[in-house]
Point group: C2
Chain length 360, copies 2
C-alpha cells in the first residue's frame, strides 16, 4: 500500500533533478515545491489555500520555494477534487442584442472579482444549444448565464446536473428558472403613453426577428398598450434588428398603409435609426415634425446628434451585477428557489419624437 506512494515520490524526485529552476520542461507541482522547501506536500497545499492553518515560518519557506520554481496551483486538479470548477458558462447567440458589448465585459468582470472564470459559448444559430449544453456539462461549470433560449428538455438536462441557471433578458415560460431582465413591457408602455399624450393617433410598429423573445415582448408591450388606449390604426412589419431592415421596414410600412403614420415604434434603436434615415431620405419627411420615431435599448448611436432617438435605456450595469450575484448565490446555496428580477428601463426623451414637455 505504501509502495505506490513511494514510487510516486521517487518519480517526482527524478523529475526535479533533470530540470533547472526555471526553464524545465514540465511545470512544477506541489511535490516539487514541498521537496525544495523540505516540507510535506500537504503543507504546500495548505499554504495556497484560503482558510488554511500554516505557521508563518512554514508559509515563508513554501512561498520562497514556490516562486523559485514558478509554481502555480493547478486549478484543473483542484477542480477535480473539490467538485468545483470555479467556472461559469456564459451563452450568447447571434440574436443576442450584442449592441451592448459591455454586457459581456461587465459580466466577466463581476465574476472575476469573485474569483470565478467565464467560459464563453457563442451560438451560430439559436438551434445549436444542444452541443453547448453537452460542453458545459462536460466542463463541469458551476453555473450558467444564458442570453439564448434553451429547450425545456435541455433545461431539464442542466437542472438534473444540479447546475443553477440564470436567464439574461429571456423570460422563460418555465416558472422554476431564475432570470434578470429589463421590463420591456413597462418601457414600451411609457413610450406609447407619451406618444399618445402628445397627440399621435396612427402607429407603425417595427418588430425584430420573429424568434427573438426580446422582440416579441417589446412588440406585445406596445400593441397591448395601444389597444388599451383605444388606438386601432396600427400597422406592423418585421425586420431583424439591423439598420438595413430598419430602412426597408419603414418603406414597407408606408406602402402597406398607403400613408405615413403619426409615429413609428421600432423594436430597437438601430432599427429606429434606419427608420429615421429612410423617412428623411426616402420620403422627404422631417423628424419629428412630420413623424415621431422611437426605439429601445439606449445604445451609443441613439445619442448621436443626427438621430437623438427617444428611447428606453436598459440599466446594463445593474442587470449584469444582478445576474452575476444571483448565480453565485445559487451556486453557494443550491436550495435557494428561483427568482425573477425585472429592472425598469430609463426613459430618454430625444429629439426623434414630438412629446409633451415633462410635467405637462
Amino acid at each position: 500500500m505504501k509502495a505506490g506512494n513511494m514510487a510516486r515520490r521517487m518519480s517526482k524526485t527524478r523529475k526535479t533533478k533533470d530540470k533547472g529552476s526555471k526553464s524545465g520542461k514540465k511545470r512544477a507541482t506541489s511535490y516539487d515545491v514541498a521537496e525544495l522547501a523540505g516540507v510535506s506536500q500537504s503543507a504546500v497545499s495548505r499554504v495556497f489555500q484560503d482558510g488554511a492553518s500554516a505557521s508563518k515560518a512554514m508559509r515563508e519557506r513554501v512561498m520562497a520555494a514556490a516562486d523559485k520554481l514558478g509554481y502555480r496551483p493547478n486549478a484543473i486538479a483542484r477542480g477535480l477534487i473539490t467538485q468545483r470548477s470555479n467556472m461559469v458558462a456564459v451563452v450568447i447567440s447571434k440574436l443576442t442584442n450584442l449592441y451592448y458589448p459591455e454586457v459581456l465585459v461587465q459580466l466577466t468582470q463581476r465574476f472575476s472579482e469573485r474569483n470565478v472564470r467565464v467560459l464563453l459559448f457563442a451560438l451560430e444559430r439559436e438551434g445549436d444549444t444542444g452541443s453547448v449544453v453537452e460542453q458545459m456539462l462536460q466542463y463541469r461549470v458551476d453555473g450558467v448565464i444564458t442570453a439564448a433560449m434553451f429547450s425545456p428538455e435541455q433545461l431539464r438536462t442542466i437542472e438534473s446536473a444540479h447546475i443553477p441557471v440564470v436567464f439574461y433578458n429571456r423570460t422563460s415560460r418555465e416558472p422554476l428558472v431564475s432570470s434578470v431582465r429589463c421590463d420591456q413591457e413597462a418601457g414600451e408602455r411609457w413610450l406609447v403613453d407619451e406618444l399618445v399624450r402628445a397627440g399621435h393617433r396612427s402607429f407603425g410598429v417595427v418588430e425584430g426577428p420573429e424568434d427573438s423573445v426580446v422582440s416579441i415582448e417589446r412588440k406585445m408591450g406596445a400593441l397591448n398598450e395601444l389597444t388599451q388606449l383605444g388606438i386601432t390604426d396600427v400597422t406592423t412589419v418585421s425586420g431583424d434588428f439591423g439598420y438595413e431592415t430598419g430602412r426597408a421596414c419603414f418603406s414597407e410600412l408606408v406602402e402597406k398603409r398607403g400613408n405615413v403614420p403619426d409615429a413609428v415604434i421600432a423594436a430597437n434603436d438601430v432599427m429606429a435609426i434606419g427608420c429615421i434615415d429612410e423617412a428623411r431620405e426616402g420620403h422627404g419627411l422631417h423628424v419629428p415634425d412630420d413623424i415621431s420615431i422611437v426605439g429601445f435599448d439606449g445604445v451609443g448611436p441613439a445619442r448621436y446628434a443626427a438621430y437623438d432617438v427617444t428611447t428606453v435605456r436598459q440599466p446594463v450595469q445593474r442587470m449584469t451585477e444582478s445576474a452575476a450575484s444571483m448565480l453565485l448565490e445559487r451556486i453557494e446555496r443550491p436550495e435557494l428557489s428561483p427568482e425573477k428580477r425585472a429592472f425598469s428601463g430609463i426613459p430618454i426623451r430625444g429629439g426623434s419624437a414630438r412629446l409633451l414637455k415633462t410635467g405637462e
Copy 2:
C-alpha cells in the same frame, strides 16, 4: 497494493446503489457506466474516445448504459491526465476596440468548431494583466489570444510555461511573438493619399487614447504619410475613441488652429462621427463641402445615411479566422516559429469626404 483499488470500486458500488437512474445526487462516472454495462472502466473510457478500439457490441452496451445514467465524460479529469485543457484564454480590455462585438463571437465560434473552449478575461484597466496571467496559468489554458498588452515580463512568464500566444491587433515590439493585425499604416496611407489627391492641404488629426497601440499606429501612419507628401499644416488633438470626445476634439482642433482645416482624420469611426456632428451643429459646416472627415474601422454606424463615413474597414472575419488557426497550429506543433500576419483594410469611399472619383 490492490487494496486501494478495491476500496475505490466498493465505494463506487455503494454510490450507485443509493441512487435512481436519473435524479441521483452525484453525477455518474465511467465506473458507474462500466458496472451497469458489465464491462471494465477502461472500456468505457475507450468508447468515449476518438481513435479507440472497441467492438461494436461493446460500444452499444456502453452507450446504452451511459445515457441511461446521463453520463458525460468529465473534461476536467481528462484535462488532468492528458495535460490538455482544450481551453484557450481570450483577453480583452476596455481599450480593446469593442465596436466589433463580432470579434469575440467569431473567435469563439472558430474555436468551438475545433472543439476548443474559450475562457474569457476582461481587464478593467490595462494594468490588471498581472492577475489575468496568473489565472490563465492556473487553469492550464493551451493557448492565449490577447487584444490587450502584456508586459515583456508577463510575456516571458507565459512563454516559460510553453503556452503559445497570438496578439490581436497589438503589435508587440518583441520579435518572437505571433500576431494578427489589420495593416493600419497602409489604411491611413490610403486615406491621406486620397484626401491629398483631391486637393486637401490642411489637416486635423484626432487620435485616440494615448496608451492605445492601435491609436498610435493609426496616428503615426497618417502623420508619416502627410510628411511624406510635404504637407506641414497639421494639427493633432487627442480623445478616447468615444463619440463625445470626438465632438470635443473637433472644437479643440478649430480653436487651436484658429481656422477650419480642409480635412480631419479621426482615429476611428466613432470619433469621426463625433467630428461630423460637431462640425455641423457646433460650427455650421457642411460635410463634405466645407470639410472632409474620415475614420477607421468600418463599423455599422459608419454606414448610417446621416454620416456615410469614408473609412477603412478591418477584415474581421479573416482576422479572427487567422488568429484562431495560428494559435491552434502552435498548440499542436509548439516548435513552430512566431509569425506576424497583417491584413489590408478595405477602403470605403463614403460621402463624408470630398474625394476624386475612382480612376480619376
